[in-house]
């Protein structure tokens, strides 16, 4: 039943992708692309495979997440192909690997709970791979040092680490949430016992410090939000939220006064025009790009989004805004909101605390990450670079997000099985 819904939605996602691809080629070269047949075949084959994997391994799972991911991935691919033909092939390869990782996750993670047994391993591996970019000769980056290069392949450890840390947090918090929720009175606050709190603070602090050291503000913000939301949901204690937000405010104040690159972000957020010939260029061009699109956009291939630096990765929404207009950007925003809704519904329905927390954490990652970068590109909030999930060019991001969706579907399926809606 849900799988049929999924299949129907998948057909629509593929249809949107294929027509956008055709229109993109018409817009740039005024010809129907020669490879439209093979392209359509590959897209249908790939997503059909993902769908069949769901039918086989997670038939009771939510039917909306995968089509939405496919739609975002498809639109992203169309724009990457339109912006840079050279990397389009790479992105296609990454999509294959991403869908492969999706299927592999469904196959390998047969029971979500099994993951919680590995929580310390995940935490350790997460922190270690976060450290990789700091190793000389291995890590690199322009503004922020957040990439690892092995041979010709590059890899962004932060994308994978966020999943590992979400699993760790879900496992740790589901075990000790009662212990953390009570503690000694300390003025108006109740502070949990040190032995319960310490591992949590350590993981939180270490990951934040590493990323601040790498000047990766976007991921720092994302991790901070992830920890905060998960602790708050697990303990149901508003005081943690208040403490966390106070810490955030203090940290932001400190960073603003202590780090030039943080100050720059705020300055160009408030008035990018003044710094057009410098750091503000990207934001100004992004605003021009999206405004030029207006309501309906110029049509794919008919705008000039290539004027925006990093338009294939963090700023890909500018290209969508320019060439598909408000209709396109609103569609993207709604797609994320629907994914967030589906993810939180999964979290609500599941009975198992670990699964509930994991679903909440994974959904938070997806929702906050998309918000951070869309808000940054549109100057709603200061720009901190993260990828737009499923849409931006980049292998690690794509793989991590497909795994994220697979985990959500696995949890959803388990709930359906437990409720007797489907057989195992």
């Amino acid at each position: 039943m849900r799988r049929n819904t999924e299949l129907g939605l998948m057909v629509m996602a593929v249809a949107v992708t294929a027509s956008a691809y055709t229109l993109g080629a018409l817009g740039t070269t005024a010809t129907i692309p020669a490879n439209i047949g093979p392209f359509l075949g590959a897209v249908i084959g790939l997503f059909l495979l993902a769908h069949l994997a769901c039918r086989r391994y997670a038939k009771g799972a939510d039917g909306v997440l995968l089509p939405l991911a496919a739609l975002l991935n498809g639109i992203g691919y169309v724009f990457i192909a339109r912006l840079d033909k050279k990397v389009a092939g790479l992105q296609a390869t990454w999509t294959f690997i991403g869908v492969g990782a999706f299927i592999a996750t469904l196959v390998l993670v047969r029971r979500t709970r099994d993951l919680s047994r590995w929580k310390w391993t995940f935490a350790l591996v997460g922190l270690l791979i976060l450290l990789l970019p700091l190793i000389p000769g291995l890590g690199y980056g322009v503004d922020a040092r957040l990439w690892v290069r092995v041979g010709g392949l590059t890899f962004q450890p932060g994308e994978v680490a966020k999943l590992l840390l979400a699993i760790f947090l879900a496992a740790y918090l589901s075990e000790r949430r009662e212990l953390l929720a009570v503690g000694r009175k300390f003025g108006p606050f109740e502070i949990p016992e040190g032995r319960d709190l310490f591992p949590l603070l350590f993981a939180w602090g270490a990951s934040l410090i590493i990323m601040i050291g790498q000047k990766d503000l976007g991921s720092s913000l994302l991790f901070f939000a992830l920890f905060l939301v998960m602790v708050w949901v697990a303990t149901e204690r508003a005081s943690f939220l208040a403490i966390g937000l106070a810490l955030f405010a203090a940290g932001a104040y400190f960073a603003y006064h202590q780090f030039q690159h943080v100050r720059t972000r705020v300055t160009i957020w408030l008035d990018p025009w003044k710094y057009y010939n410098g750091k503000g260029y990207q934001l100004v061009e992004s605003s021009f790009s999206m405004a030029w699109g207006g309501l309906t956009g110029t049509g794919i291939g008919r705008g000039h989004p290539d004027r925006v630096p990093a338009v294939k990765t963090d700023f890909i929404l500018s290209a969508i805004g320019e060439e598909l207009g408000l209709i396109g950007t609103a569609a993207i925003v709604i797609a994320y909101l629907l994914m967030v809704g589906a993810g939180l519904r999964i979290a609500l329905r599941t009975e198992d605390p670990f699964s509930k927390l994991l679903a909440t954490g994974l959904t938070t990652i997806l929702g906050i990450q998309a918000f951070i970068i869309i808000g940054g590109v549109t100057r709603l909030v200061p720009l901190t670079g993260v990828t737009l999930p499923f849409v931006s060019y980049g292998g690690s991001s794509l793989i991590a997000n497909y795994v994220l969706v697979a985990l959500l579907l696995r949890i959803s399926h388990e709930t359906a099985v437990r409720a007797g809606e489907v057989e195992r």
Partner: protein, 492 residues
């Protein structure tokens, strides 16, 4: 935990609502402000990626066209005649905006006029843009003659049809190659622009209509018109005293003739020999009110309604400037002091005499047609000013014939053609003495087809013969060139 998860959902909903509102603000509300921001290159880029009509001279020579290019703009604007028509066509630059006809007739060239857009709309399913092609009144042969005649001297040549206002030739030296500015490579284009901007003689500005100079004795045509129109001067009266210098009222500093020459007499005589003292007297006799009225009647102190961007105003002092300042008035009588004119303006003065006292609106557009050959625009002769009666024009014409036949402008004589002209030498420096050499003329005097203004800038010497020596031969060559070409109005 579910309560918190629901709250989280609410929070996310708020975040995404904020994004949606922000996107509306950016893409709808702020759209026009961002689109028009000078830093935004997209409007220029849009025009660059589109086909654009050609600009041709009246004799069918391509002056500007868009040819396929290998870069992302797909089209490159080229100017096959390089510097020859630069000040008229302007250049279509990706970085510095456009100028000249490229700017003035941009809508037609880019197919943006309502007429063209409507036509494109009806061709909705045919893949083409209805660009417009522009034909100029300028003749490539005459323009080349003007360029060759002026040579390497700084200055300007303007030739126009007094019967229509159509410009035959408009050349200024130094000029520039518009292809340099139209280059799509920013470094190349901006280096060229910086280089051109740093040349003191300002090649990017058209000396013909964007800069003004002391008109010297060519302005005596204006003073004579004021005299004739006021009724205080006729062909026979007054007879100005023959003298070497004249001291106007309210000063002790006399005005002298060039080289201490003695001159005087009636209007035809003083115009023939270009007598400063007599025209100084005439300006004082006529009075400031009539002088200002006539000068402004010729278009001084107003924007010339030519179809080219940013023309300079020619200036004559306002009435208040002559309050208790008769010496100033006297000096303006022979085109010194605060009188300044563009070569185009002085060409229009000659054309007005040629056209029985009626000054027509000057224009460079012959016609514009869309890609189907359908006429979009074709200027008809329009009156701009009528500074004199036909009777005055007839008197001045005869006097100007006298200048060429036996006065300061004999170098402009053409066998078989009656040329009417006036020389001018505007002193610009005393040590060493230097001046602008001028000559304005029209021909054939009985049935004029062409009026010309020639300016040679900053030549050594201050003799009245300077204008006749240096500028008149250039005018002669240009007049001969125009008369050798087919008449654009063959029925007359």
């Amino acid at each position: 935990m579910n309560k918190k998860i629901r709250r989280l959902g609410l929070f996310m909903l708020l975040c995404y609502s904020a994004l949606f509102v922000r996107l509306n603000w950016l893409q709808i509300n702020e759209k026009s402000a961002y689109d028009d921001n000078p830093l935004n290159r997209r409007e220029v880029l849009r025009d660059f990626a589109k086909p654009r009509g050609t600009i041709e001279s009246v004799d069918g020579v391509v002056l500007a066209q868009s040819i396929p290019s290998t870069d992302k703009y797909e089209l490159q604007r080229v100017y096959p005649k390089a510097d020859l028509f630069a000040h008229v066509t302007g250049s279509f630059s990706l970085y510095f905006g456009s100028a000249g006809v490229e700017q003035e007739y941009n809508d037609i060239l880019a197919g943006q006029t309502t007429k063209q857009s409507l036509k494109s709309f009806s061709d909705l399913f045919v893949d083409r843009t209805n660009v417009g092609d522009v034909t100029l009144t300028l003749d490539s042969v005459v323009q080349q003659v003007a360029k060759d005649a002026l040579g390497t001297r700084d200055g300007s040549v303007v030739a126009l049809d007094p019967r229509t206002g159509g410009i035959y030739a408009m050349w200024s030296h130094p000029s520039y190659d518009p292809n340099l500015l139209a280059n799509h490579d920013f470094a190349t284009a901006s280096a060229a622009r910086t280089f051109l901007n740093n040349i003191p003689s300002k090649p990017l500005l058209a000396a013909s209509y964007q800069e003004r100079y002391f008109p010297g004795s060519t302005f005596k045509l204006v003073t004579a018109t004021a005299g004739l129109e006021s009724g205080k001067v006729t062909v026979t009266q007054p007879v100005y005293p023959t003298e070497t210098q004249y001291t106007p009222p309210l000063t002790t500093r006399p005005i002298g003739n060039f080289d201490g020459e003695r001159c005087g007499g009636t209007l035809p005589e003083i115009l023939r020999v270009s007598c400063n003292t007599a025209f100084a007297r005439m300006a004082v006799d006529v009075g400031p009110v009539q002088m200002v009225k006539t000068a402004e009647g010729f278009g001084f102190n107003q924007r010339v309604p030519i179809d080219l961007p940013s023309p300079a105003r020619s200036v004559y002092p306002p009435l208040a400037a002559f309050d208790r300042n008769t010496p100033k008035l006297a000096q303006t009588g022979f085109g010194q002091n605060d009188v300044q004119a563009t070569p185009l303006q002085m060409g229009l003065v000659a054309a007005t005499v040629a056209n029985n006292g009626v000054m027509l609106v000057p224009h460079v557009l012959f016609e514009a047609r869309d890609s189907d050959g359908e006429l979009l625009e074709k200027p008809v002769p329009r009156v701009w000013q009528t500074p004199m009666t036909p009777a005055t024009a007839a008197i001045l014409r005869d006097a100007m014939i006298g200048v060429v036949q036996g006065g300061t402008g004999t170098k402009a004589q053409i066998p078989g053609v009656t040329v009417a002209g006036k020389t001018g030498t505007a002193q610009t420096d005393t040590n060493p003495p230097s001046s602008h050499a001028w000559f304005v003329a029209f021909a054939p005097a009985e049935n004029p087809r062409v009026a010309v203004a020639v300016l040679v800038k900053g030549v050594p010497g201050v003799s009245e013969v300077t204008g006749g020596q240096l500028a008149a031969p250039i005018a002669k060559a240009v007049i001969q060139a125009v008369l050798s070409r087919p008449d654009p109005l063959p029925n007359r």
